[in-house]
Symmetry: C2
Subunit: 164 residues, 2 copies
DNA sequence: ATGTTATTGCAACTGAGTTGCAACAACAGA
DNA sequence: TCTGTTGTTGCAACTCAGTTGCAATAACAT
């Protein structure tokens, strides 16, 4: 599941945590660093494994609890990526500009798509409904250009334990 | 979690199933009927419970398998609704017009939002990336007009077993 | 230095969704 | 209408992402 990601300026999470009165533990710093340097969307297990390289004792529950905090603060977004690979969720530090996640159902590739239409939706929602948008998650499924040319047709299992 | 839904023309799923060579079992017809008449987004458990009223022997595995088929055929969409209520997913028969799902993090209300910006995104993606869109899932979190006025501030637990 | 309290690790748990398999029933063809 | 084929079902056991309770630990304010 290769993809390109813009990297959030490092140190941002740490600064933000301080602002909210969070204690800067070794584990927390580590998780921040992993999220800020991630070049791909990571699920909790991947974050855990990466963290354990530097901090062997760290537990998955610490990962989940910190992801929970970061989600609530609105600095990390939780993604489903259409559950193409199973039931896990994926995480990414929120970027300056909102973007959509686009997944090819044929080859599994995921990429990010930037468009001003996201802002348009948010604006409409605020004006027409008086709704104050905190975050917008857009996930699109379909067939990528490469798979279209090669005629690959989405035989990819949409879910299941085997596809791990 | 009240909301208004457009009702899909009934019988559509049955016709479509026939076209794809699916056998019309009693259980399947029942699931189709439930999906086509749903006035709210249903999770698998709710579909099961509703089905068991008319078909007490029906098992959850039958629900899941049929939802799987319908997803693959592209006639039913799977939604997360931001996992505001836990880890389940929700299902709805695909409507003629695509729409976004908007959830208030303060009161839990979910509503549907129709905008031409969805088509815009799909069109851009096709033109700029050569990507052929099969479905677009847009889920937006924030604060609804009522909660804004009353000052309710999203103390709603974003997840967890207790919130069931 | 010390006390307060947020945070961690452990272990047991929860529950949505899946799997294997034998029994069943749609439905096409005779 | 009977019959064979095979898609579909129910059951039971399972998987695994994520959660909970609790005691031990460690930030960090004073
Ligand atoms: Mn999900
Ligand atoms: Mn809907
Ligand atoms: Zn592809
Ligand atoms: Zn509200």
């Amino acid at each position: 599941m290769p993809l390109v990601k813009q990297i959030r300026r490092r140190g941002g999470l740490e600064r933000l945590a301080k602002q909210h009165g969070l204690r800067l533990t070794r584990q927390r710093r580590l998780i921040f660093a992993i999220l800020e340097s991630a070049k791909t969307h990571l699920n909790a297990k991947q974050i855990l494994e990466q963290a354990q390289r530097l901090e062997p004792g760290i537990d998955q529950v610490t990962i989940y609890r910190n992801l929970g905090v970061l989600k609530r603060l609105g600095v990390v977004d939780e993604l489903d990526l259409l559950h193409l690979r199973g039931d896990q969720h994926y995480y990414e530090a929120r970027q300056v500009r909102a973007h959509s996640h686009v997944a090819c159902l044929a080859c599994g590739k995921v990429f990010e798509f930037y468009t001003s239409a996201i802002k348009t939706i948010d604006r409409e929602l605020e004006k027409e409904c008086g709704f104050s948008v905190s975050f917008t998650r857009i996930e699109i499924g379909g067939q990528c250009a490469a798979c279209r040319k090669s005629g690959r047709e989405a035989p990819l299992p949409r879910k299941g334990k085997q596809a791990r």
